[in-house]
């Protein structure tokens, strides 16, 4: 801050330093980094990069549960300890060798390329944020490396950004179904819905969720009116004013796609002030909070898990094994990010085992259009030329069982994939506003 005009003379002598610095930097970097990074480990292992939030506000609710699930599943897969049909060791015979990277970075693309080129990963599984996915999907196609988006929700990925994917897959459903199913659940349970209100975080995910939910409600029950639309800043944590606004506008239904700390803060502040008694509250990502809050979560709240995950997952040997193994190791039940990670890894394993190889091309070939069983039930890569999964979803109503001190969901309704997802090629918003053309809801 201080070296200034008087440095005129010193800079005069800086030539050798300036150039030598560049030269030194160049040479230094060459010797340090140009070392053969491609040096492969044993043939029987396959390097996989995992990118989720390990710091920041999304780490606690999403990134870390997903990483935990990844660690658990990798160990189990490498040991062949997953129940059948996944009880063979490794994927396509190779052991998974994981590298974890923090998604909380301003240079996501450069970090991605570093994984591909320096660390030499064969594939990358990751990305919670839709913003990351939008940036990474084209990069994956450019880098020609298998990339599996396991969580992010924006429908735009294959609708607009990468319309002809070759290397990019998404093993989770997109966010449209969360909102469509929430509205369908509400109508199916016959709750009064004359006026609806929303409290969603003011960023793309929250805005999309409310747009889809209010749009679906307008289609399903034409006399629905919007009482108030609240969009607090993400991670603000203090919702006193918003709750007052919700209380004074007396809506029948309050919809929220809050997650993480915001969700828990809203439940605590809202339940203390009786919002859950005055209105029917739908929490489309409520499942992540229910076991942690227990009795604090008011009975009667409609809970979603952004897919048939967690307590909404079907009863199966795989699911019970996963829940038990996760609980034994981490002391909490797995939430939907854990399920989604397990689902992605099992999809990869199913594809590799089917192809009998862990080569990128073999996995891509087998994963395209694949159908497999995860802890949350059947997943099929039906959209975007076999690159986008569809999956049904489910909603339930919260009930705290005082006798066993456990959080449960009752009145669970499952929605088939075709009921809550737009058909191949259709744009989500148009599909909702056009009255769900082609929806099959049994």
């Amino acid at each position: 801050m201080n070296n200034s005009v008087r440095k005129k003379a010193p800079f005069g002598a800086a030539l050798d330093n300036t150039t030598s610095l560049f030269a030194a930097a160049a040479i230094g970097l060459m010797t340090t980094f140009a070392a053969p990074s491609e040096a492969q480990a044993q043939d029987s292992s396959v390097k996989v990069g995992f990118v989720t939030f390990l710091s920041g506000s999304a780490a606690g609710p999403f990134g870390v549960p997903a990483r935990n699930a990844a660690e658990l599943m990798i160990e189990a897969i490498n040991a062949g300890a997953v129940p059948g049909p996944y009880n063979t060791a490794g994927i396509g015979g190779s052991m998974i060798d994981p590298i974890f990277v923090d998604e909380n970075s301003k240079q996501k693309n450069a970090d991605y390329l570093k994984l591909v080129e320096k660390d030499g990963v064969e594939m990358i599984i990751g990305y919670v944020s839709s913003g990351s996915c939008k940036a990474i999907a084209p990069e994956a196609e450019k880098a020609e490396r298998l990339t599996i988006l396991f969580d992010c929700g924006t429908p735009q990925i294959f609708e607009e950004i990468v319309t002809d994917p070759k290397y990019t897959f998404r093993t989770g459903g997109h966010a449209t179904m969360d909102s469509v199913a929430a509205a369908r659940y509400l109508v199916a349970t016959g709750a009064p819905a004359g006026t609806i209100a929303g409290i969603n975080q003011n960023y793309a995910f929250g805005q999309d969720n409310w747009r889809d939910f209010s749009g679906t409600m307008a289609q399903l029950s034409s006399d629905t009116e919007i009482a108030t639309e609240q969009f607090p800043k993400i991670h603000s944590g203090q919702y006193g004013s918003e709750i007052s606004a919700l209380l004074t506008s007396t809506p029948d239904v309050v919809h929220s796609s809050f997650w993480g700390g915001d969700l828990e803060a809203f439940i605590i502040q809202g339940s203390a002030r009786g919002i859950f008694e005055r209105s029917k509250v739908i929490l489309s990502a409520g499942e992540t909070a229910m076991h942690r809050l227990g009795a604090q979560m008011p009975d009667g709240t409609i809970i979603g898990a952004r897919g048939p995950h967690g307590d909404l997952a079907p009863d199966s040997e795989l699911n019970s094994w996963f829940r038990k193994a996760y609980f034994d190791r981490f002391g909490t039940l797995p939430t939907y990010p854990s399920y989604k990670m397990a689902q992605a890894l099992l999809g990869v394993k199913a594809a590799a085992d089917k192809a009998g190889s862990s080569d990128q091309d073999a996995i891509i070939g087998a994963l395209t259009g694949l159908e497999w069983e995860g802890p949350s039930g059947t997943v099929s890569m039906a959209l975007a030329n076999g690159h986008q999964a569809i999956q049904g979803t489910a909603y339930g109503t919260y009930k705290y069982d005082k006798d066993t001190s456990s959080a449960t969901l009752v009145d669970i309704i499952h929605f088939p994939a075709e009921c809550v997802n737009p058909p191949a090629g259709a744009n989500s918003i148009d599909w909702i506003n056009g009255g769900f053309e082609g929806a099959k809801c049994d």
């Binding site: 801050m1 010193p10 150039t19 160049a26 970075s105 390329l113 080129e117 735009q156």
Partner: protein, 326 residues
């Protein structure tokens, strides 16, 4: 022109071919960090030239974002992909906005300049985060650039963009180096040291600050365009205060002694972060913080003082006068 080059500028010109050759020698992932560091490094330069006038902009992300978004919107809404048009649009947008905002900001100094610039950048952040057409907080994607009708793809496209980025970044650095040695550059030094005297010497400190502010905005917008194009993506995070904060920290850590410092500092900090993440993905912030702290403790005038200090030492062998305040 050539005869007027000073040593820093010659150094920069020599660095240009080295930078370009690097693309063929170093592994691609590393070149990639060099590439994006040039974009963000230019913003750090914008922060640095304002620091020379004693002004710390905690909202330089505003112009980083304006540049990226202006170019991106040109491509998104008008289908224009020409590199030079996108760059020109980014520059123009920053020029107009900063010329206007400059009338407000030039009255502010110290922490108040920092906070007002932060507030303005956060207002843009808030607005962009609510515009669905621009992808809200997720932002939107940019197409691959074309060059006066030529549309390379794949490796060629990357190398073309990289080479142009190098040329423009070095060009900007040379221009700013000249700026620092120009009368306005000197007036900025004087403003930082004693603004009252500047007015008594018969010139307007406000005008000099305004000009510097606009120039910094333009350079940052160029950085924004050059950063967004290889990434192919922009989002409002570009104008979030945490992004702006990083530019400030890079400038301080690098030192404001030389125009090259922030460019190299940006890259080095990026590499430190990458390796911190690699060593300890769960606690890399702690490593980064410790590195920053140690740098400040041992090199209070920034990394660049490593070089000036060494040089001083060799010079002082001959000359006897001790240099005060170093």
């Amino acid at each position: 022109m050539i005869k007027n080059l000073d040593r820093t500028e010659i150094g920069l010109l020599i660095a240009l071919p080295i930078l370009i050759i690097i693309a063929f020698i170093l592994p691609k992932w590393l070149v990639n960090y060099v590439h994006v560091s040039m974009g963000t490094g230019l913003v750090a330069l914008g922060v640095m030239i304002q620091m020379r006038a004693g002004l710390v902009s905690f909202g330089q992300g505003l112009y980083f974002c304006v540049g990226g978004y202006a170019a991106g919107m040109m491509a998104k809404f008008y289908g224009i992909t020409d590199f030079f048009v996108l760059l020109a649009v980014g520059i123009l947008a920053a020029l107009v906005l900063s010329a206007l905002l400059g009338f407000l900001l030039r009255r502010y100094r110290e922490i108040f300049f920092a906070m007002l610039s932060l507030a303005l950048s956060m207002i843009l952040f808030g607005m962009l985060s609510s515009v669905e057409e621009l992808g809200s907080t997720d932002g939107f994607n940019l197409p691959t650039a074309s060059y006066l009708g030529w549309s390379p793809t794949g490796e060629t496209a990357q190398l073309t963009l990289y080479t142009l980025t190098c040329i423009i970044a070095i060009g900007c650095a040379i221009a700013l180096n000249r700026f620092l040695k120009s009368p306005i550059g000197y007036i900025n030094e004087a403003i930082r040291e004693n603004e009252l005297r500047v007015e008594y010497l018969g010139t307007s400190a406000h005008k000099a600050v305004h000009i510097t502010y606009v120039l910094a905005a333009v350079v940052s917008a160029i950085g924004g365009v050059l950063w967004a194009l290889p990434l192919g993506h922009v989002d409002p995070e570009m104008t979030n205060w945490t992004t702006s904060g990083q530019f400030v920290f890079v400038s301080i850590l690098s030192g404001t002694g030389n125009i090259i410092a922030p460019m190299i500092g940006t890259f080095l900090l990026e590499i430190v972060r990458v390796y911190a993440v690699e060593i300890s993905p769960n606690t890399w912030q702690m490593i980064l913080g410790t590195v920053m702290l140690l740098t400040i403790i041992f090199l209070p005038k920034g990394l660049w003082s490593l070089i000036t200090r060494k040089k001083k030492a060799t010079r002082d062998d001959g000359a006897s006068a001790p240099i005060a305040g170093e």
